[in-house]
């Protein structure tokens, strides 16, 4: 499966003088929502396969490229 790439049409400016790559301040993502997936579609199959074989995205990519 080739992963789609999102291209951001951003016009980059030079970084402001005082900008720093702050290390994480311990902020967390909001709690996720519980959902029930519908078992149809190609992308669902990949999602299920990764969970079933306990593969990371990269392991799954590697497996697919072998096929």
């Amino acid at each position: 499966m080739s992963m789609r790439t999102i291209t951001l049409p951003v016009q980059l400016q030079p970084l402001p003088e005082n900008w720093e790559a702050s290390t994480s301040k311990g902020t967390k993502l909001s709690a996720p929502t519980a959902v029930t997936l519908l078992p149809y579609g190609h992308e669902y199959s990949h999602h299920a396969a990764r969970i079933h074989h306990q593969r990371t995205f990269e392991e799954h990519d590697a497996y697919l490229s072998l096929k």
Binding site: T5, L29, G41, E43, S45, H47, A48, H53
Partner: protein
């Protein structure tokens, strides 16, 4: 020797999709390009009425059974699907215009009259809802086999309302099995709609035999939408309207956010509007009274005839911008009736029904707490959604730019097409866990991102949130991002933020149009106060800073 590709190809063409509605059914098969098309039966029809009628020794199934409603209504069975898996006490109101269900030890059963031997005696025949379903599904399978030159059909995906109970699903599965259909799975119609519209790039190509060279030029994608989005599926059938709001990731990882059904609203209401209109016209023109609410046997027969004609007239109105005619021979007291109606007039008559439909959508969005601007796509499904007036009515509710009204597949075909595509996928790329298993249940119960995640590039002005992962995306998720970096920049810094969606409502008063003094007189009488217009726009804004990254940039040195 058959190659693996050839076998997979053969499998893909041996499965079908069936949209089994309460009023109409349709069948789709996989075409040469690996996409799906609905098929026409031997009478050239793609929408097959769910109807079975008995006349003497004959059994009519499908559209051929419909004319029997006029003179042989007691032996004509309609709208049976929704009674599958129910006991007699669970059955609500039945239409008085077709064969009636009787209570046989709690099992809903039709009792019809048949004459097995030509010129023999009429006999009573009893059929349970399940038996009628078997008869009907068997004829669908036959049509599919005929179309596929008697190829053996290895499996079918059948649509099934998502709110059906286990008992109802089991009854459908058993009936299909008795009809000789190997059901791969039952499918939610709204999910089928999403698959039907997924670009072919989102579903794997059929394996091609290297020898039978692939056809190089793929058809242009008719339907460009973001791969991650919220989709509203509006399904308007004969007697029900269902709005389903779905979260879609990567075109085909789907979960439902909300669904609501109005089972008193559909194409039948439009037939009734036309019926009243034409009954009145007929009475006026012919001097023969015909009231749409009359219950005398003669009037009921006349009304059944007129109603069938109205349905045809309504259908032809969806194919033309002009007018459609209606012809009924010997409508009442031997009087024929010829009428006509143009689409403008029809839309006027239909307005109250259309309004109920848009109100239903508005209520669904309200219950889901989703603003119309947050919808990325609308898919129209169901025979009634073919009427252009419905898309028009929706346009007033949904803001134009972000919404694509998908109409490149006739709405009546969408569900069958999606079912066939899913059937294809399960044979060529089978999912790793079996349908209905406990493991599948566990995988389906997932978690999704509550708020979007995006990037903010540090700059002097207002921070701009570049969404990368949408709210509602099932986890785990991964996205790849490409950022164009000008050669003058050697260090790339950016921040990860959680964002939120804000709907801004602005009231815009249209500017006064300068008028030509000469025109003023004419315009005066119809001078309208320019209504201030409410404009809603969706904004994504950063809300919580998560972390930042600073990366050195290595620009490739371009060779001369």
């Amino acid at each position: 020797p058959a190659t693996a590709a050839a076998i997979a190809n053969e499998e893909a063409h041996s499965v079908i999709g069936i949209n089994f509605g309460n009023a109409y059914a349709s069948i789709a098969v996989i075409n040469k390009e690996g996409r799906a098309d609905t098929i026409a039966n031997e009478d050239g029809e793609r929408q097959i009425a769910c109807a079975v009628s008995f006349l003497g020794s004959e059994t009519y199934i499908g559209n051929q059974a419909l004319p029997q409603l006029v003179k042989n209504s007691g032996n004509t069975i309609l709208a049976f699907r929704n009674f599958l898996g129910l006991s007699f006490s669970e059955i609500g109101e039945q239409s008085p215009l077709s064969a009636q269900l009787k209570d046989v030890d709690g099992v809903p059963t039709y009792v019809v009259s048949v004459t097995p031997e030509p010129e023999g005696e009429a006999q009573e025949k009893t059929l349970t809802v399940r038996e009628v379903t078997v008869l009907f599904l068997r004829s669908l399978l036959q049509s599919a086999q005929d179309f596929l030159s008697h190829r053996i059909i290895k499996g079918a995906v059948l649509s099934c309302p998502s709110d059906w109970s286990v008992k109802q699903r089991d009854a459908l599965l058993e009936a299909a099995k008795d009809a000789g259909i190997n059901v791969i799975t039952l499918m939610d119609p709204a999910a089928a709609a999403v698959l039907a519209y997924a670009p072919s790039s989102a579903s794997p190509a059929l394996p091609t035999d290297t020898k039978s060279a692939a056809n190089g030029s793929a058809a242009p994608e008719p339907h460009p939408v973001p791969s991650d989005r919220r989709t509203l599926v509006l399904d308007i059938g004969a007697s029900s309207t269902t709005a389903t709001l779905l979260s879609v990731s990567h075109h085909s990882l789907v979960h439902a956010l909300h669904q609501s059904t109005d089972s008193t609203l559909g194409g039948k209401q439009l037939d009734s509007v036309l019926l009243s209109h034409f009954a009145k016209e007929f009475s006026k023109k012919s001097g023969v009274a015909l009231s749409p609410t009359s219950t005398t046997p003669a009037d009921l027969r006349a009304l059944a005839k007129l109603r069938a004609a109205c349905e045809l007239t309504k259908r032809s109105l969806s194919a033309t911008q002009g007018s459609a005619t209606l012809d009924v021979e010997s409508l009442k007291d031997g009087m024929d009736y010829h009428g006509s109606i143009n689409s403008l007039r029809f839309d006027l008559l239909a307005r109250s029904v259309y309004t109920r439909m848009t109100d239903h959508v508005r209520a669904c969005l309200g219950e889901a707490k989703v603003d119309p601007t947050q919808i990325g796509e609308v898919i129209l499904v169901g025979g009634t959604a073919s009427l252009p007036g419905i898309a028009d009515a929706l346009q007033t509710l949904l803001p134009d730019p972000p919404t694509v009204l998908s109409n490149s597949i006739p709405p009546g075909n969408v569900v069958a097409v999606g079912c066939a595509l899913h059937a294809r996928l399960t044979v060529t790329h089978p999912p790793p866990v079996s349908a209905g298993s406990e493991e599948e249940q566990a995988i389906l119960k997932g978690q999704a991102l509550s708020l979007p995640i995006g990037l903010v590039f540090p700059s002097a002005g207002e921070p701009v949130f570049w969404q990368v992962i949408n709210a509602g995306t099932p986890l785990p998720a991964r996205r790849k991002v490409r950022i164009p970096v000008p050669s003058s920049i050697s260090k790339l810094g950016f921040e990860f933020w959680e964002g939120k969606e804000e709907v801004k409502v602005e009231t815009i008063v249209p500017p006064k149009v300068e008028q030509d003094p000469e025109d003023e007189e004419e315009e005066e009488e119809e001078e309208e106060e320019e209504e201030p217009e409410e404009v809603r726009t969706l904004h994504l804004v950063p809300s919580t800073h998560l972390c930042s990254l600073l990366l050195p940039v290595a620009h490739p040195v371009l060779a001369q």
